[in-house]
């Protein structure tokens, strides 16, 4: 077991974690603001990949697809929030759980009808093919790109929430929607925007995963489970938690795989159990979010 191998494996974990970070960020945003545990998040991830395939076929540009697909799915998110989620606010957790759970099934079935059950191949874009030397071994260029995109998105999201007026309203709304409303701010529009932002992030994750994992109607199901684990480890509703926990889960899975591949999947859940025992609200969790 050389240091080079451990470093290479860590980078593999970072790439794995990047997808999880993007997924968990969206999920945490929606849960933190709207108190909606979005069980359709994996389905939005999948729809994002399909939207990306369509955009790529139309424009023949992966970069264009990276912009178009999240936007399209964000619009879908707006529509879903406005028509389906909004009537359920204030009715507790179970209503949105059942709604989003069913919505996920419907979305998967619609995609199967439109694009077939078999899935669609999606090649790594030409300019990102191949492997580059990192000094301690060769690493796929595309996975490096994936880590880069994740860093940029997390940075942009941080600036947006911490430094802009929109971010201020969002943070205030998360703390006390009642007061924000009294101050004359239309919190409902903010909620709709947040739902769209969250689903857009899921779409971005889906499209970024597509060249590695292919595009299939069921691709979101395992990722949803992983994203929930990350959200729980990081603390429900915490963005910093989602980012740290996403990377942590990716690296832990990857390193476990190096020493004992059989336990790689289990390691994620072991990490979750351990976190819940030591810090029941997750690494960065706030008290009382679920009321």
């Amino acid at each position: 077991m050389t240091l080079d191998l451990i470093l290479l494996q860590t980078f593999t974990g970072l790439a794995l974690g990047s997808i999880l970070v993007l997924m968990a960020l969206g999920m945490s945003l929606i849960f933190g603001m709207l108190t909606v545990p979005n069980f359709a998040h994996g389905a939005f991830y999948m729809v994002g990949a399909y939207a990306g395939v369509v955009a790529f076929r139309l424009t023949d540009s992966f970069v264009a697809a990276l912009v178009c697909a999240p936007l399209a799915v964000a619009l879908l998110g707006f529509a879903v929030e406005r028509t389906l989620v909004r009537p359920l606010y204030g009715r507790g957790l179970d209503y949105p759980i059942v709604l989003t759970f069913g919505l996920a099934y419907a979305m998967i079935e619609i995609i199967r009808i439109l694009f077939g059950k078999e899935g669609i191949p999606f090649e790594t874009p030409e300019f990102l093919q191949g492997a580059v030397s990192l000094g301690f071994g060769y690493f796929p260029l595309y996975r490096l790109f994936l880590i880069g995109v994740c860093v940029v998105v997390v940075g942009a999201l941080y600036l947006c929430l911490e430094k802009t007026k929109f971010g201020l309203v969002v943070r205030a709304g998360a703390n006390d929607p009642e007061i924000v409303r009294v101050l004359g701010i239309d919190i409902r529009t903010i909620w709709m925007l947040i739902f769209g932002l969250g689903t857009g992030l899921a779409a971005l994750a889906g499209l970024l995963a597509a060249p590695m994992r292919g595009v299939t109607p069921e691709m979101g199901i395992p990722v949803l489970v992983e994203a929930f684990v990350v959200t729980v480890v990081g603390g429900m509703g915490s963005l910093a938690g989602a980012s740290v926990a996403g990377i942590l889960v990716g690296v832990v899975m990857s390193l476990t795989s190096l020493f004992s591949p059989k336990f790689a999947e289990l390691s994620m859940f072991a990490l979750m159990a351990l976190t819940l025992i030591i810090r029941p609200r997750g690494l960065f969790g706030r008290p009382g979010l679920t009321g």
Binding site: L16, P121, P140
Partner: protein, 413 residues
């Protein structure tokens, strides 16, 4: 009323209901003569093996249409009852039980995963219903699992890895072999068979990694594999797992270091990826449509498929669906009816050439003795059309010598 019975071959729900309503009013003898022959067909339509399963349905239906167009068997039409087993042994057990108890299926053909076919086999064995398995398995032939109702049209991992190993191992740059294996029956069986074949060529196992079935991201396994410095990497998995693992192995540049080999090189997965991605990869297969250049029955089968499916060609696993149903119906024809004992006796002796040349079922374990093909992915420049993805680089002719002996499987002589 009579008209309705003739119409059953439309397989519409209405006609089915009509016939069902009609049957109880008819005297028993008439019913036995004219009753539709029902073949239950549980396959994993949804999930990672969906592409393969759907073509199995298309091809099985083709075999049935062919018989029905010729007036059926002794005037009896044949019907295919397709069910989704969702690649789950529990689901497959329930569906198969329903097919036998509720739908009164005479025979079961299908299942597309080692563990699922063993579950289906178990149900059929208990109910005394003939089951033709159309996917790979070694275990199904072994005395502990086998029953006289079991017929195995699929190749065995032993047969495929032997054919592939004979081609790949002598040419390898060195003796080091690494294995990436799906952690379920089929993966374990192919691993065992590959190791056995590799021993004949003095190969040495340097790494062995089991991955969960239906894994999306294989990246965490590759640094470890690369560190073991293999000359050959055998990837023993199936369906989408095969596509994703090869794709990601490519990203890590493993091909520069090792010859990638698969026990079964799947047509549907090869079609889902690019020629560049699969370039140089070698694997076994039960059927490739270009066989039609030398085998007349392959040409006939391809043409049937082309006529029905918009000038496309059948896949490898599709061919299993066709072969399973065709062989069964040949046996039924020979037996002159659906009586289980008569069909078993006919099955054990019938000489077949359904789509790939001569084939017969060995008496002791009901394994289909048939040719195995070794294929290599074609580079883009050599492809005649989008379907022309493989070069057949070696043919292992059908011989009982390529099977494990009856004694080794635990069958008494």
């Amino acid at each position: 009323m009579d008209k309705k019975i003739v119409n059953v071959d439309r397989r519409t729900l209405l006609a089915g209901l009509g016939a069902a309503a009609f049957v109880p009013m008819t005297p028993a003898i008439v019913r036995a003569q004219s009753e539709t022959i029902r073949i239950g067909f549980p396959v994993p339509l949804t999930g990672p093996f969906g592409a393969e399963a759907q073509d199995q349905v298309r091809c099985a239906q083709l075999a049935i249409d062919q018989v029905n167009a010729g007036g059926g068997i002794g005037g009896r039409m044949v019907e295919l009852l397709v069910r989704d087993d969702k690649l789950n042994p529990g689901e497959a057990t329930t569906r198969t039980l329903e097919l036998i108890e509720k739908d009164k299926a005479h025979f079961i053909v299908g299942a597309l995963a080692g563990n699922v076919q063993l579950a289906v086999n178990e149900v059929c064995r208990n109910r005394g219903v003939i089951y033709v398995s159309i996917s790979q398995s070694d275990t199904i032939n072994e005395a502990g699992t086998f029953s006289r109702f079991t017929f195995h049209e699929g190749l065995t991992p032993h047969m495929t890895t032997l054919a592939v190993g004979k081609h790949v191992f002598p040419k390898a740059r060195g003796k080091r072999v690494a294995y990436l294996v799906a952690d379920y029956t089929y993966g374990h069986e192919t691993l065992r068979a590959f190791k056995r074949a590799s021993q004949q060529f003095g190969m040495q196992t340097v790494e062995e990694i089991l991955h969960p079935l239906n894994t999306a991201d294989f990246s965490t396994f590759f640094p470890r594999i690369m560190a073991a410095k293999p000359d050959v990497l055998c990837i023993c998995n199936f369906g989408r797992d095969q596509l994703n693992s090869i794709k990601q192995a490519n990203d890590f540049g493993i091909k520069k270091q090792a010859q990638i080999t698969v026990p079964v090189f799947l047509y549907a997965q090869r079609r889902s990826g690019s020629p560049a991605m699969f370039d140089g990869i070698v694997g076994g297969c039960n059927y490739h449509w270009t066989l039609e250049d030398s085998v007349p029955s392959a040409k006939k089968f391809n043409n049937l498929y082309r006529a029905k499916h918009n000038n496309t060609v059948p896949s490898d696993y599709g061919a299993y669906g066709y072969a399973g149903v065709s062989s069964l119906l040949e046996a039924v024809k020979k037996a002159g009816g659906t009586d289980t004992d008569a069909v078993i006796a006919a099955f054990e002796t019938v000489k077949l050439d359904t789509h790939k040349g001569p084939e017969h079922y060995r008496k002791c374990d009901h394994q289909a003795v048939q040719p195995v093909f070794v294929v290599e992915s074609k580079p883009q420049a050599q492809m005649r059309n989008e379907f022309d993805v493989f070069n057949i680089v070696s043919v292992e002719v059908g011989s009982e010598d390529n099977l494990r002996t009856c004694a080794e499987l635990g069958h008494k002589a």
